[in-house]
């Protein structure tokens, strides 16, 4: 993937994330039955990242334990959504590609067997927990 494409994609993803967050925050959507997850609509089983909107909103309300209980992946999303716009902005202003280099390095890191296997297990465990919770 090229640098330009990555930055564009990340920006679009972040913007969509913020719009979705604002929409749900003011409409109280997670609790009124509006679900966006297609996987859940088709199978009635929650997907590994179901509940992350509720997790982020709990965190915004200051409830860290609640957000962990909804879905720990929400915290990763918060970190990405908070850091990446600043990082992209910094790279554009300074004419650098630090984010792109870090992304490439992170990709290589995740492809190692001893990193990928535990990561897959964690995702599966979280998925099982999601189904158990009945999010």
């Amino acid at each position: 993937m090229s640098k330009k494409k990555l930055y564009l994609l990340l920006s679009i993803a972040c913007a969509t994330g913020y719009i979705w967050l604002i929409f749900t925050y003011f409409n109280n959507a997670p609790n009124n039955g509006i679900g966006i997850c297609i996987f859940k609509h088709f199978t009635t089983i929650p997907c590994p990242s179901c509940g992350s909107t509720r997790s982020v909103i709990s965190l915004l309300n200051g409830d860290i334990l609640g957000s962990l209980l909804w879905n720990p992946f929400g915290l990763i999303l918060v970190a990405i959504m908070a850091i990446s716009p600043i990082w992209i902005f910094y790279d554009i202003i300074k004419h650098k590609e630090t984010l792109f280099q870090s992304y490439t390095r992170a990709e290589l890191f995740l492809k190692r067997k001893w990193v990928a296997l535990p990561a897959i297990l964690i995702v599966l465990a979280n998925w099982a927990w999601n189904i158990y919770k009945g999010i």
């Binding site: 993937m1 990555l6 994609l9 993803a13 969509t16 994330g17 979705w20 966006i36 997850c37 297609i38 996987f39 997907c47 590994p48 990242s49 179901c50 992350s52 992946f73 990763i76 999303l77 990405i80 992304y103 992170a106 990709e107 995740l110 492809k111 995702v123």
Partner: protein
């Protein structure tokens, strides 16, 4: 390399690449040294049809992206329910071309 070998390679592997790339690959292969044939012929290429099937079945979890080696995008799709479902649907149409692009990158390391 011999034209016969190259044509055989092209015939068996044409489906892994975009039609606009085939000519360039053929020319590079013809100019290539014979010693690289073993490496070229044992190259592990991903089938675009397989990744389309995976994308249709498990695209919402990002598994299609993981399979073709786009780990970063795979994580992105996994953490966002397939990009709120929209990205997953867009990828049904993009994944085959993305797979061919990845295959091209793989063979390019040997060709150039």
């Amino acid at each position: 390399m011999e034209a016969q070998k190259v044509d055989m390679f092209i015939m068996t592997n044409a489906k892994f690449f975009g039609s606009y790339q085939i000519n360039a690959i053929r020319e590079r292969l013809l100019a290539l040294d014979d010693s690289k044939w073993a490496m070229i012929s044992t190259l592990q290429l991903k089938d675009p049809t397989t990744s389309l099937i995976v994308s249709l079945l498990a695209g919402g979890l990002g598994i299609d992206r993981f399979i073709i080696g786009d780990t970063g995008l795979g994580v992105g799709k996994l953490l966002t329910c397939g990009g709120l479902g929209i990205w997953a649907i867009i990828d049904w149409f993009l994944i085959q071309e993305a797979t061919r692009e990845k295959n091209m990158q793989k063979i390019q390391q040997l060709l150039f």
